[in-house]
Symmetry: C2
Subunit: 256 residues, 2 copies
């Protein structure tokens, strides 16, 4: 019960996320990976490929949360400026990492591909950073203090998390129960739900309506707690609240 409470923030970097061209999936991947480790994501920011914006966001987030995860901007092209921005945020230099550049040189030699100056850029890491392995496509991520810099390509970002997991201080795992009430309306349950939230402050209660049409709508009620016994009590009460409205309650139990 004296376990520490680590927290995380996610910083998604890239014009394509802000323009709507790309719908991000990395936040979900990172949050889902961290949840069973007891590390909740508390804030996310999306910034463009602009150095000062990246620097300001990194510095704001690393001061406030235990860990920061960035995605995007570590490839070989001119718009890949994340490594430089991280170095600037930490006030350190940046240069080719000898082991990384040797590894990339060997990898490209095996592929029969020229190891060009552009590809060498992917070996540049901030001074003092440690490497995060990329088993998918070679070019690594890196860890600078409490900031982990991952690729933007989802399959690569996901693989990098495996190398990061063992480095993280874990917290108390939050368990979750979802009660799905098709046809339920939030206004019908708001009062008893609010009362339950007040009665059980150690359980976090969320109400998430969906509305596709007048005939396809409803509410998901989500209870979260580290204490499983308390969670069960809350979930039973949520079911009662839903059933009192004459609506069937569908129950889903999940970790994280």
């Amino acid at each position: 019960m004296t376990k520490s409470a680590p927290t995380a923030a996610v910083l998604l970097i890239g014009d394509e996320l802000l323009s709507g061209r790309t719908r991000d999936i990395n936040l979900q991947q990172i949050a889902s990976y961290l949840a069973p480790l007891g590390i909740p994501v508390r804030e996310t920011r999306i910034v463009p490929d602009v150095e000062d914006e990246i620097v300001d966001a990194v510095n704001a987030l690393r001061a406030k949360y235990t860990y920061v995860f960035t995605t995007g901007g570590i490839g070989p092209t001119h718009d890949d400026i994340t490594a430089d921005a991280i170095a600037k945020a930490f006030g350190v230099g940046i240069s080719e990492h000898p082991e990384v550049t040797a590894m990339l040189a060997e990898r490209y030699r095996e592929m029969g591909t020229e190891y060009t100056p552009a590809r060498r850029r992917m070996a540049r890491v901030p001074h003092g950073a440690s490497i995060v392995e990329n088993p998918v496509s070679g070019a690594p991520g890196f860890q600078t203090g409490n900031v982990f810099t991952l690729a933007g390509v989802p399959s690569v970002a996901r693989a990098m998390l495996e190398d990061i997991g063992p480095r993280l201080e874990t917290g108390a795992v939050v368990h979750k129960v979802t009660i799905r009430g098709r046809g339920l309306r939030e206004g019908d349950i708001a009062e008893p739900l609010g009362a339950l939230a007040k009665d059980m402050p150690e359980v976090s209660l969320g109400s998430y309506p969906w509305f596709v049409s007048m005939t396809d709508s409803g509410v998901h009620l989500v209870a979260r707690a580290t204490d499983e016994a308390q969670l069960k009590v809350a979930a039973d009460k949520l079911e009662e609240i839903v059933k009192a409205c004459g609506v069937q309650a569908e129950r889903l139990e999940e970790a994280g």
Copy 2:
């Protein structure tokens, strides 16, 4: 050519987005709606259902961008605290809006549904705010200064944008061309791409790799500019760069 350059930020509010339970779609909807109006989204933040976090984010963003769009947290339940947070951010009071509460009372009367205290909460708007119509489910959003507060349910948020559009100062529309190169590798085009980016500073060039597997990977090259003639020159050069790698270039032209 002397057109102003309005900018936007999006603030997504809700624990469910940070936990990974819900994958946001509102950023894409808002960015896609604003693009043809010449209003680019420059930053996005996702914060939990915590009043101080919402207040801080609203105040940081409204000072920096022409417009701020928030989504989520305006329903009838205890975790819907956005309206109060907006009022606090602007330092104004909040109470039931007479016209909104009359409209909701009438709507629920027609539906044969009790207009409960919880439902009355949805009529509360910050003092001085104007109403944003919700033709889907009734309970409105609102505009406070340069901040627009929308529902989190995507169909409702999308409908609310229609009432907001005419209020916005528009900018120069950015046009976009995408060149899709299946099998292309960023390292092969990084040098000529970087040189083109330097030669044509008025065109924004982005390189977005995808990587599903060694046989299903490639790069999307995206050029954006307000000047369509310049954009065409850049797109032709991008095609040449891709073709020089022995890869077929597939061209997509889009607005926004």
